[in-house]
């Protein structure tokens, strides 16, 4: 066999478009069977809360009552949290089960294809479907109920503009291109999805609880390491500074460099954690045994 043919064959063992397409379709069918109903219920949660609120108002006060936009936004956030926590477990938690996991591992597709399909479903398809369904129903409510002033997506818009405004203020601190990105919440969401996906692939039982406990333990551990370093750093660099005697311009000048460094550090840490989660999840999938 020619060497380039050999390379092509070994590449096909890792990724093949046709096989991936087949796997992706089968994976979506599996996710629909395992999580379709839950996704529908979570997407309907906004409407359900709206109707419950209206029903309670009708029964107690005798008139129709609409939900304030802040509460509708809070309901959306809660629904999104429930989705992030429950989706990976319901869709892929069975990988750790001896019976279902064996079938998953031995299905003739590469680990990379299974992993990629998992990521696309968990990060793009299912959250996308949820957002589209939830916001569409929310828009429908605002069309049907004139008392509702704005849709949840409009509340999002307002929130983003507020953050942007805040970041413009921060830009005055000469942060140049390092402004706060109003979409930074997306990478945090992906990180949380990956955390719960990894938990679903690692823990055999009590997946959600154990993942949350692990998060708490890691959080405490990181704080225990970082806090003394931060305290030491601030006490050595800002020990002799009396903020009360400074005007705003002086304070801005003083903290400019620190804020810039912290923003860079935060971005690097976020990306490192996310990359680490991607790698560890793949390795877990590749080495899972039954």
């Amino acid at each position: 066999m020619k060497p380039n043919m050999k390379i092509f064959d070994s590449m096909k063992e890792i990724f093949d478009f046709r096989r991936f397409g087949k796997y992706f379709v089968a994976d979506i069918k599996g996710c629909t069977a395992n999580y379709g109903l839950s996704l529908l219920l979570i997407s309907l949660s906004g409407v359900m809360v709206y109707l419950m609120n209206a029903a309670i108002a009708l029964l107690t006060r005798g008139h129709w009552s609409s939900l304030p936009e802040e509460i509708r936004f809070a309901v959306f956030c809660m629904a999104a949290i429930v989705l992030v926590v429950s989706m990976p477990v319901k869709c892929y938690g069975s990988v750790t089960d001896k019976r279902s996991g064996s079938a998953f591992i031995l299905l003739p597709a590469s680990t990379f294809e299974k992993y990629l399909s998992m990521l696309i479903n968990c990060i793009i398809i299912i959250p996308g479907l949820f957002t589209a369904a939830y916001l569409s129903l929310d828009w429908l409510l605002t069309v049907l109920d004139p008392a509702l002033e704005s849709t949840t997506s409009e509340v999002f818009g307002k929130l983003f503009s507020l953050i942007s405004e805040g970041s413009r203020e921060l830009a005055e601190l000469s942060l140049d291109s390092l402004q706060i990105n109003p979409f930074s919440g997306i990478d945090d969401t992906i990180t949380m999805i990956m955390v719960f996906l990894l938990g679903a692939l690692c823990f055999k039982s009590g997946k959600t609880v154990k993942t949350i406990l692990s998060l708490i333990i890691v959080g405490i551990g990181v704080s225990l390491v970082i806090s003394p370093i931060a305290v030491h750093w601030f006490s050595t660099h800002f020990a002799d500074i009396n903020l009360e005697s400074m005007n705003r311009a002086e304070a801005v000048e003083l903290f400019k460099g620190t804020f810039r460094s912290l923003t860079i550090l935060d971005t690097i840490l976020d990306l490192t954690v996310l990359a680490g989660l991607f790698i560890v999840t793949f390795l877990r999938l590749k080495t899972i045994k039954h």
């Binding site: 096909k12 599996g30 001896k98 064996s102 003739p108």
Partner: protein
């Protein structure tokens, strides 16, 4: 061809398989026998790539199953003792997942399901244990795999299905396939397994074809008990005795008696077959 070279495996500190070496040839239906806990299921899971050997090597057509390469996965199917009750209808499941095996035939799946009297439009998580097993058996056979590993396939099957299972294995598996069946229900599979492998704790006591076994051991069904029998047992209508075949006379293997004889005289039987 499957080549197992000097493999060892342990669960933590507990060794299960130790220095196991054997070759499994194509076109054979191997019966894998052994007491509980000797590592029959472990061996099957090592062969299909669900576990990794601690030492030694397994090569299937020159490839390592632990790498889980799709091209090798497409040549094999592992039918586990416990199967998953998927939230899908049997036919939808077969249609969605069967396409990953290059030789999968949905028509054969339906045919076997019909023979085993199992509904294809029933949700798998609503099936009884036996129906679910039959669905997976149908799927496994419809895959047309070169390597088929089955762990206790007749567990949970009703009496007619056991006979249909034997017929289906003979009819629907390709001529050149290597089938390895681990079982305690030797009577269910007595007529289809050949060669027979008997695993012991960390050892292979026997790996021989039926003709080889009958050339070296004689299965005596007469009523007269012989003192030099390796194993004897009273059965309805007489007795079964396993003796060393010194006359070259032909006889029909009784797998249960063979198993007991091998276990009773491990070193002697190993010596006879390693000559």
């Amino acid at each position: 061809m499957i080549q197992i070279k000097d493999i060892s495996f342990s669960y933590g500190e507990t060794p299960v398989l130790k220095n196991i070496t054997m070759n499994l040839e194509q076109g054979r239906i191997y019966g894998l026998l052994g007491e509980n806990g000797v590592g029959k299921t472990t061996l099957l899971t090592l062969l299909c790539g669900l576990k990794k050997v601690r030492s030694g090597s397994i090569e299937i057509d020159g490839r390592n199953p632990w790498k889980r390469e799709p091209s090798l996965l497409g040549l094999q199917y592992f039918l586990s003792d416990e199967v998953a009750p998927v939230n899908m209808k049997a036919l939808a499941y077969a249609d969605a997942y069967g396409r990953f095996w290059p030789n999968f035939d949905l028509g054969i799946f339906k045919e076997i399901m019909e023979v085993l009297e199992t509904e294809t439009d029933k949700k798998m998580n609503a099936m009884s244990c036996g129906q679910l097993k039959k669905t997976y058996i149908s799927f496994a056979l419809a895959c047309g795999c070169k390597y088929l590993y089955m762990d206790e396939p007749t567990n949970g099957l009703d009496i007619p299905s056991k006979s249909q299972f034997r017929k289906a294995v003979m009819k629907y598996t390709p001529e050149d396939s290597t089938i390895l069946i681990s079982t305690h229900q030797v009577r269910d599979l007595e007529n289809i397994i050949d060669p027979i492998i008997i695993l012991d704790r960390q050892d292979v006591l026997l790996n021989a074809s039926v003709s080889e076994i009958t050339s070296k051991l004689y299965f005596d069904y007469s009523n007269v008990l012989s003192p030099d029998a390796l194993y004897s047992e009273m059965i309805p209508g007489g007795a079964i005795q396993v003796k060393v075949n010194s006359t070259g006379e032909d006889s029909k293997v009784n797998i249960e008696a063979l198993f007991n004889a091998v276990h009773k005289h491990k070193e002697l039987v190993k010596g006879i077959f390693n000559k």
